[in-house]
């Protein structure tokens, strides 16, 4: 396992001014006894609302914050104690913080990072060429970073994190604020990077489309606690979200309210369009479609997957349970 986290906890002390001389001291728990692991080559989606403890976890994995209690091991190293050794093997992107030099052209930032990671010129130049090709960065490589658009800068940030070919890539909100085209380009690149090099990825985000596109496995963190650890289909069945079959009939028909294992959600246009909800673990789409076509003649059909936002909302609403 490339990342091992056991009963990881981080408290912050917040001081409040209560009166002119009085100060009170509150302990806020950002991460509460979280346990998980990441296997080499995996892409783990780490999701939670803002302030759920995602960034704090990522910082503890990099060794720039220490745990209050618990154990964390990354690439077989202890992050805080062996921070500089670990930094050679891990890359990180913090969506809201830049790792680039504001006043230098993008290429110069990569030159400096190459020197910092003690890479021979040929090595970092080859890697930059590769990333610049895939991320379509050539036209703005000589532009000072402060003049780049957010989408351009973020491509630069990801390249900066990957320049030294790390084994583990930690991404904290990498697509925040990006337009759809930029998001998609970045996701495509990350998928390519994974399949080419087998890079392990931890993707902390509150944008669930990142997860759908990239992750094999999801962890949901809520108020610092681990709320779920498993696959996306498992999460869907856990909260009982339904898939919906939408059928358009050739001619108006009676409400299809007696198809086994489904519930009729709504009927439109006098029965021309009907919505049938069913749960993945109870029946399959094929069975439902077969049952419907045995009754009426279909003109068209579509299956709507549960909105992942909705799935997570339901998980947050459900009472706290142990993960799995």
């Amino acid at each position: 396992m490339i990342v091992e986290v056991e009963r990881l906890r981080r408290d912050f002390v917040v001081r409040h001014k209560t009166s002119r001389f009085g100060r009170s001291r509150d302990v806020v728990t950002a991460v509460a006894d979280v346990t998980f692991g990441i296997n080499a080559g995996e892409c783990l989606g780490y999701i939670g609302a803002n302030g759920a403890g995602k960034s704090t976890t990522v910082k503890m994995l990099m060794g720039i914050r220490g745990p209050t209690s618990g154990r964390v091991q990354v690439c077989g190293l202890e992050p805080v104690r062996e921070r500089t050794v670990l930094a050679r093997r891990v890359g990180a992107v913090f969506g809201q913080r830049s790792q680039l030099w504001w006043d230098l052209p993008l290429t110069d930032s990569f030159r400096l990072l190459g020197a910092i990671h003690r890479m021979p010129d040929r090595a970092w130049q080859a890697r930059l060429q590769e990333c610049a090709d895939l991320l379509d960065m050539h036209e703005f490589l000589t532009t000072p970073v402060r003049q780049l658009s957010l989408g351009q800068r973020m491509r630069g940030e990801v390249t900066a994190a990957l320049l030294h070919s790390p084994e583990l890539l930690l991404l904290d909100e990498p697509t925040i604020g990006l337009d759809i085209v930029s998001k998609e380009r970045l996701r495509g690149f990350l998928a390519e990077e994974r399949s080419e090099r087998g890079t392990t990825v931890l993707l902390a985000t509150h944008d669930l489309s990142d997860i759908e596109r990239l992750s094999d496995r999801i962890i949901v963190i809520d108020h610092g606690r681990l709320a779920f650890d498993g696959t996306l289909p498992a999460l869907v069945s856990r909260v009982g979200a339904s898939r919906v079959l939408v059928v358009d009939l050739v001619e108006p028909g009676p409400p299809l309210d007696d198809i086994p294992n489904t519930t009729l959600q709504s009927v439109e246009a006098d029965g021309l369009r009907q919505h049938l909800a069913f749960r993945a673990e109870e029946t399959s789409a094929a069975t439902v479609i077969a049952a419907v076509t045995a009754r009426v003649e279909l003109r068209d059909l579509a299956i709507t997957e549960p909105a992942i936002e909705d799935v997570v909302r339901r998980l947050y609403l459900s009472p706290h349970q142990d993960p799995q």
């Binding site: 981080r10 910082k59 990099m62 060794g63 720039i64 914050r65 220490g66 745990p67 209050t68 805080v80 104690r81 921070r83 500089t84 050794v85 930094a87 050679r88 990180a92 913090f94 809201q96 913080r97 830049s98 790792q99 030099w101 006043d103 230098l104 290429t107 110069d108 030159r111 400096l112 990072l113 190459g114 020197a115 910092i116 990671h117 003690r118 890479m119 021979p120 010129d121 040929r122 090595a123 130049q125 930059l128 060429q129 610049a132 050539h138 490589l141 000589t142």
Partner: protein, 282 residues
Amino acid sequence: MVELQPLGTAGRGDAVPSLLSAYVALVRSRLSAQMVYRGSFAFEVGAQFGIGFVDFAEIYVVFHQVSSLGGFSFAEVAMMFALTTCAFSMADMFVGHIDGLPNYVRTGQFDAMLLRPLSALGQLVTSDFSLRRLGRAMTGLLVLGAALVFTDIDWTPARLLLLVITPVAGCAIFCAIFVAAAAVSFWLVEGTEFANAFTYGGNYLASLPFTIFHVAVQRFFTFVIPAAFVAYLPTLALLGRKDPTGLPGWLCWSGPVAALIAAAAARLLWRNGLHHYVGAGS
């Protein structure tokens, strides 16, 4: 396609660059950023040179009224001023920008430094390099030259060596004070003012003859914050005079030792401060 030109920094071709070359590359990038506007740079160097003389004018004005200050002549006090100015301006150039640490912490740039495989202190020190401070150092050298002409020093090889070593040791002492002050800001969020009291305050104090201060102040700025080793004590040794408060003569020659102790103490304080910031296992 952007042409990736051959580079002067770091690893040429297939060679693995050394740790030092990483820092050299960082400093070079800062220097070239400063040199982009040559006219502005020249003006800043000139301004620093001028500011040094304004500081010196303060001493001149005092000696217009009195003939000696704390038992020292104008030329002798000028020598203390010059040694301090040389030491401080060099330290300010090398590590002075470290007082921006609270700002780096606030903006998250400090965390970005921690993501890199280099020491945080090394990166902070190389994050800027204010070459304009050379202007101030030039003032110091000019005043030192003049002061040496007007003071009566019984030159021996040991004294000559002391004269050369003193600005270097003084620079190291101020560097240590800068680092220690920055380390304190890990605990005190609004610590910049507090830090300045010791860095810029130390500079002012060190340039004056210590005999004008209360003995308690003298002791504090000798044994706690070693400002006395920057100029006052070495000047006594150069002039062959004894410390009026009874400090042993060998102490006047101990600037380099004081610098080493100060550096070790600063390093320890920095490590503790960083440990506090990261908050490991507390």
